[in-house]
Subunit: 302 residues, 2 copies
Amino acid sequence: MSQGFIALDWGTSSFRAYLVAPDGAVIETRAHGDGILSVKNGAFEPVFERHVAGWDTQLPVLASGMISSRQGWREVPYVQAPAGLTDLAKGLSQFQTSNGRKLVFVPGVSWHAGDGVPDVMRGEETQIFGALDGGNGLFVMRGTHCKWVAVEAGRIARFATFMTGEMFGALKAHTILGRLMTGEAEDGPGFERGVRTGLAQRQGGAGLLHDLFSVRTLGLFGDLPGDQLAAYLSGLLIGTEIAGATKLFQPGAVGVTVIGGSMLADPYMKALGFAGITGRLGRPDAAVRGLGKIRNQAGLIT
Amino acid sequence: MSQGFIALDWGTSSFRAYLVAPDGAVIETRAHGDGILSVKNGAFEPVFERHVAGWDTQLPVLASGMISSRQGWREVPYVQAPAGLTDLAKGLSQFQTSNGRKLVFVPGVSWHAGDGVPDVMRGEETQIFGALDGGNGLFVMRGTHCKWVAVEAGRIARFATFMTGEMFGALKAHTILGRLMTGEAEDGPGFERGVRTGLAQRQGGAGLLHDLFSVRTLGLFGDLPGDQLAAYLSGLLIGTEIAGATKLFQPGAVGVTVIGGSMLADPYMKALGFAGITGRLGRPDAAVRGLGKIRNQAGLIT
């Protein structure tokens, strides 16, 4: 007889578990900031058990995200792109936790571009299939590491990672660029000016290592007030990302679906607008929906 | 009657004071890692006095570097490029320390490029004039913030800053890229591969935000051993800088003089070689020599 399952989306900087009914409806969600980087000494199981306290240990757990990386609970090999739902299902890796839960990991996806440099994702492949309606599309996912993903004929065809989110955090907290900043807001004139400066890389320019210094000089010269500098930096990085992704994909032709909560997605939607690219907001439940599709594909209904 | 002076080169991450004889010879050098960012609560004077203990308080002190920035001892306005030695001499700012030393700051130089974004230097202008023989040249200075500087007819004509050094430190210490690193060396195959990946931006590409992720993936896939990853990151950043600077200057035509101690300059010399650009090692005493020239120009010989 069919039963429900626990869907787990455990990434670098966040934990989200969903109690899912047999019909696919989400009964309860447990969300927390305990990303895998904050878990000490490999203590993933106790952190997991604490967050899902009270949920039936008989329910299988289907997990995606960085939890299956080398820094996670157990490393699962990547499936190579092009990769569809059936490839993900074949790459599932199963084990039992010490208190008897059945834990199944979704594999990440790797892609070797023409230059021989590999690229990887973990978790985004699941969101992609959760967000996908039809067989084709171009997706962008904001996060610690942003992913641009081209889906063709129902398979992840190729993709590229941009370290936009992690770069913002490191630059703001650990370089001189944060010194003059007094605000956080990703709106106002600072954000737009930053996006447009980054987008100018489409016409060539000295590149990000040079452009970044403008965060300091525009503040020094009073061209931007301190409360606009964080927004300017964020915009500069997002604009630079869009300029780079434009060289790999054709977002102008097909538009882009932005996946993530609206708080994460809104600045991208704005920046795509400045770039003259059509942005569409993807569904917010992409991760849990993707896990449900993979579960069905794998015939995990017990 | 002529007397000697104290030459002070106090930057973001280092302190160098020189006791200079009336004939310009350096009698004694005091070097330390107490850059201005490590000085707490604006206590520049006690830090300075500690490092120059025993040196005659009657000698004037001529200082260049970030010590005259907003984060320094006293902020001195920038002189605008194009700027020559006479402009720097006119922009000198003088005050007296609490124990009676005469302290004279060399101004930094600002440059407004066509895009309206200002760029600035503090300290490098002094090194440039110390390194300059003749009226023209293209210079690069490695440091927290690297500067590419074009000198024409004896004046700093225009320049661009690249945040290469600070970026390396922040990425290695505060992002996931540092996780797989086990070494520091800037030689070996990792450095060259990084430089060549960065230089490929001259032919276009997805940009640094994307390329950086290869530091992680090449490590994950075992394409580069952990002890080559720091070198690869350093090479990638330097290669990216050279690719960007190539779009602003014509280093292929004129070659580049690399200023800085040989430990700092060697990786640049190598990277310029991979790029097919002629690199020349500049004199190591550029800062103190530049301060001497400015002193003579200003008629500070008392």
